[in-house]
């Protein structure tokens, strides 16, 4: 087994690559919405955008069965411990996506005397992919998922597409 931060103990070459390919194509997100962005997350899973095409449409309600945490919305100070706890309950390997400006930096709710929110998910949990927008469109979320796939497999559909475009 490997941990998220450390190097794996044993390198298994091809098997490792196959596993990564499998992981990248089967990112089950947790049913977890904090605010506005959650609606766009739902929209991304629904009929028109259909995250399931990329194997990322199986929203699991229990953190124990998830691979990906989409932090969709503002993290209030009251909620922050719960977010951390959910992250800790997920089994490795696990990934986090900060969806929307609130999860990236506090977004519109961050100003000098604010008292209510945590300005950025990366202050409490490690974030792999940032998807900006307020809220991001579902297309943006899909691009985020593809970027994450690229990060996991070191290659990916998105890169191919970008290279073709030049």
């Amino acid at each position: 087994m490997e941990t998220k931060t450390g190097e794996p103990l044993i390198h298994l070459g091809v098997l490792e690559e196959a596993l990564n390919l499998a992981r990248a194509n089967s990112l089950w997100p947790i049913t977890f919405g904090l605010a506005c962005c959650a609606i766009e997350m739902m929209a991304a899973g629904a009929a028109r955008f259909d995250l399931d095409r990329f194997g990322a449409g199986v929203f699991r309600p229990s953190p124990r069965q998830c691979d990906l945490m989409i932090v969709a919305g503002t993290i209030s100070k009251k909620m922050a411990p719960a977010v951390v706890r959910l992250y800790e309950q997920m089994p490795a390997p696990k990934w986090v996506m900060a969806m929307g400006n609130c999860a990236i930096s506090g977004g519109p709710f961050y100003y000098p005397t604010q008292y209510a929110i945590v300005p950025g998910a990366d202050l409490i949990i490690p974030v792999d992919v940032y998807v900006p927008g307020c809220p991001p469109r579902p297309e943006g979320l899909i691009e985020g998922i593809l970027l994450l796939e690229e990060k996991i497999t070191k290659r990916g559909r998105l890169r191919k597409f970008r290279d073709a475009k030049g």
Partner: protein
């Protein structure tokens, strides 16, 4: 007419002010000013007339608080605003036994302004974490408190 009924009912309570409001400007049909101790009676009269508590909040006027209750009715268009001046560091009698819906409003005001409500069944923080030690909507909450 609900407005007349209310005016009559409130007249007996010996309030500071029961006057017709400027609806076009403020959205009130009836403007009332009361002392803190009179508030439960006002609420009782409102409930008897079939009004519901639309909203309740406080305004920090630096020297005093201005507590504002808004009542309206499902049957007839008649919005009543009750202003209650309250000195700082003073408490307010609860009306949550008359309007159970006021329970949360009072907790919110306690949370955000630090105003204490006497006889409230469950007065604890509503929106902020239980360990918060500040009241964000006070006007002197600012650079020193909060963080970052």
């Amino acid at each position: 007419m609900l407005k007349d009924n209310l005016t009559n009912a409130l007249a007996s309570l010996n309030l500071e002010k029961v006057a017709e409001g400027d609806y076009a400007k403020t959205g009130y049909h009836l403007e009332v000013a009361a002392q803190p101790a009179q508030m439960p009676d006002v609420a009782q009269a409102m409930l008897a007339a079939g009004c519901f508590l639309e909203s309740f909040t406080a305004v920090d006027l630096r020297e005093t608080f201005d507590l504002v209750y808004h009542f309206a009715s499902f049957d007839e268009l008649c919005r009543t605003a009750v202003h209650v001046p309250l000195g700082k560091k003073k408490g307010m009698p609860t009306i949550s036994h008359i309007y159970p819906g006021a329970d949360w409003y009072e907790r919110e005001v306690f949370d955000l302004f630090g105003i204490h409500f006497f006889n409230h069944p469950n007065l604890k923080r509503l929106l902020l974490p239980e360990d918060a030690d500040f009241h964000p909507l006070l006007k002197d909450f600012g650079a020193s408190q909060g963080n970052d």
